[in-house]
């Protein structure tokens, strides 16, 4: 019996010839990622057992991105604890201030993830790195703490669902629309505890950013990880970013899939996920006209340069409707600089957008752009759960940067094609 990409990565890190779904294995980790929320709690946990020595300090990456720039005294104290810990433990990959950005945009940009890596991260969207052919899964603070100490973790090899995308994408349709459509089809527990392997000619035709957007939301379908076959597109992307070469695993032709789905992308239109579930995908036509108070373009899902370019294309020479607040956050300082050099920030500013620093704050209702009772936000993020971005009675609709930008101009959910 052949193996999938995920199984091959797991077997290699378990020092086994092969693994199959359901096996409980112990694996050595290439990267252990924490942020200012998860790593702080992990340190508290380690404190309770007397701070054992870290066997994997070299593999730890700390990114302060959630309540940063520090929201208040409490969060500033947490960041201080992490900073002191990083200094004391000699953590080389520590990111804060103007060197930090949203972790899942920052790591690929910095070349810190390569194909074949096995990664755990104290953040559910760690699954983003599957786009680079890595096995990456989100964990909580205790798993993170144990991984920091041992450099290993244990897991049950997941079953895999392969989704084969074929056909040509329509106008204003991209990775975000494909993943929202997919979650709408299989449900928020459609891949519960499983691996999603994104496959097929359409996936191969996507650039790295669209792939990252898709893998990012695998967890929204309940998946442990999402993964894609690394190819020359990934190789080119990493060429001048990473010193590590990586291992380009592919799935065997006789690998075992729990389920295989085919999605013809030709008929997929720009998508909107209605509150309060990322699984409530509808076409933008069905949602058009819904009034909004705020538009947010950013996050680990859609805060990359390509996303900002799409938004700028629509916003150029236009203004956000006077009744709404338009917030735009480049996901990393590198993206911020690129947007500045390309004149995108000028376009955004002239469109009356608030340009925010790279931060996870808006997306998870932590700080920056919190919603009042009854307010509605159209957002390029990944979750629209009840009260996600503020008051429990506020609402979030999820969409792509194109729909978000067009809707900002009109003050209501709008098809991008109706503006151009």
């Amino acid at each position: 019996m052949g193996m999938t990409i995920s199984q091959k990565i797991l077997a290699a890190h378990a020092n086994l010839q092969s693994v199959k779904s359901g096996d409980i294995i112990s694996v050595k980790l290439d990267t252990i990622l924490g942020n200012d929320i998860s790593a702080f709690m992990a340190l508290e946990e380690l404190e309770k057992i007397g701070r054992p020595p870290l066997q994997a300090a070299r593999n730890i990456i700390l990114v302060l991105d959630h309540f940063t720039p520090n929201k208040d005294i409490g969060t500033a104290e947490q960041c201080r604890v992490l900073r002191e810990f990083a200094e004391g433990a000699g953590i080389e990959h520590y990111f804060e201030g103007g060197r930090s950005g949203i972790e899942h945009a920052l790591l690929p940009e910095a070349g810190l993830v390569v194909p074949g890596d096995l990664i755990v991260g104290g953040d559910s969207h760690t699954c983003t790195y599957g786009a680079l052919g890595a096995f990456a899964m989100g964990v909580g603070s205790t798993d993170l703490a144990a991984a920091m100490v041992l450099g290993k973790t244990w897991l049950k090899v997941p079953e895999t669902i392969r989704i084969n995308y074929y056909g040509i994408l329509g106008e204003w349709v991209g990775g975000k629309d494909l993943i929202l459509y997919t979650i709408g089809k299989i449900g928020t527990d459609g891949a519960l505890g499983k691996t999603i392997e994104f496959y097929g000619p359409t996936v191969k035709s996507l650039d790295v950013e669209d792939r990252l957007t898709m893998a990012n939301m695998a967890v929204e379908a309940g998946a442990v990880n999402g993964i894609m076959e690394p190819d020359p597109v990934i190789q080119n992307f990493l060429a001048d970013r990473s010193r590590r070469k990586g291992i380009y695993f592919t799935s065997d032709y006789d690998a075992n899939y729990e389920q295989e789905l085919n999605i013809d992308v030709f008929s997929i239109t720009p998508q909107v996920a209605l509150p309060p579930s990322p699984g409530n995908a509808v076409s933008v036509q069905e949602a058009s006209g819904i009034k909004i108070n705020q538009v947010f373009i950013g996050s680990c899902t859609n805060g990359r340069i390509g996303d900002l370019r799409v938004a700028a294309k629509i916003l150029k020479g236009r203004k956000a409707d006077s009744r709404i607040r338009l917030l735009i956050s480049p996901a990393t300082p590198g993206i911020y600089r690129q947007a500045m050099e390309e004149g995108l920030l000028k376009i955004f500013s002239e469109a009356d957008a608030v340009i925010l620093p790279p931060s996870c704050g808006v997306c998870f209702g932590g700080h920056l752009g919190i919603l009042a009772k009854g307010e509605v936000c159209l957002s390029t993020t990944n979750r629209n759960f009840k009260g996600r971005m503020g008051h429990p009675d506020s609402k979030v609709y999820l969409t792509s940067p194109a729909v978000a930008a067009a809707s900002a101009v009109r003050g209501k959910i709008t098809q991008p094609s109706s503006l151009t």
């Binding site: 378990a14 946990e45 964990v139 932590g366």
Partner: protein
């Protein structure tokens, strides 16, 4: 490991944002988190929970964010065990890791009424509804999971075993039995 308590019933797809919203993630004090646990469903939800009470939920309980604060909050609110039709994968690990048993039971929400007294026997894979006098079976948890729960969570478990053996050789010996 046997748990007795009265049950509280929740819907499908209770996400961790609902269990503890993002605005509280800069706090780690268990009693503070308990105070705000599930407040989006009912203000002061945790006030009605007695120590040892058991949570029954539908499918995909704990989906979404990896925040372990969600487990801390439920535990500190007094919840001793969670039974759901299915769990978010990260939440399941977090729950076990903090020593809060999480058990999958088919059609969990149909088998109990709110405030029924129940008894859960983790090792036997049995739950008894004392009100209806009916017993339901569930697939027993893997031995690694039971051992972590018995130790009171993952970190105490690591402390008890030889860290150098964790978890590979330990797992192999447990699984081969």
């Amino acid at each position: 490991m046997i748990f007795r308590g009265k049950v509280w019933i929740l819907e499908n797809n209770i996400d961790t944002d609902m269990i503890i919203p993002g605005k509280y993630l800069s706090f780690t004090d268990p009693s503070f988190l308990a105070e705000h646990c599930l407040e989006a469903i009912e203000k002061g939800w945790s006030n009605k929970i007695a120590k040892g009470d058991i949570l029954i939920a539908g499918k995909n309980f704990g989906c979404g964010s990896s925040r372990e604060h969600a487990v801390v909050a439920l535990k500190a609110a007094g919840i001793s065990c969670i039974m759901a039709e299915s769990f978010g994968a990260i939440f399941f690990r977090n729950s076990i890791n903090l020593g809060l048993p999480a058990v999958e039971i088919k059609e969990a929400r149909k088998r109990f009424n709110e405030k029924d007294m129940v008894e859960v026997d983790l090792e036997a894979g049995k739950v008894r509804n004392m009100a209806s006098q009916k017993t339901y079976l569930f697939p027993p948890l893997p031995s690694i999971v039971l051992d972590i729960l018995k130790a009171g969570g993952l970190l105490p478990f690591i402390g008890k075993t030889n860290p150098n053996n964790f978890p590979a050789s330990y797992l192999r010996s447990t699984l081969s039995s």
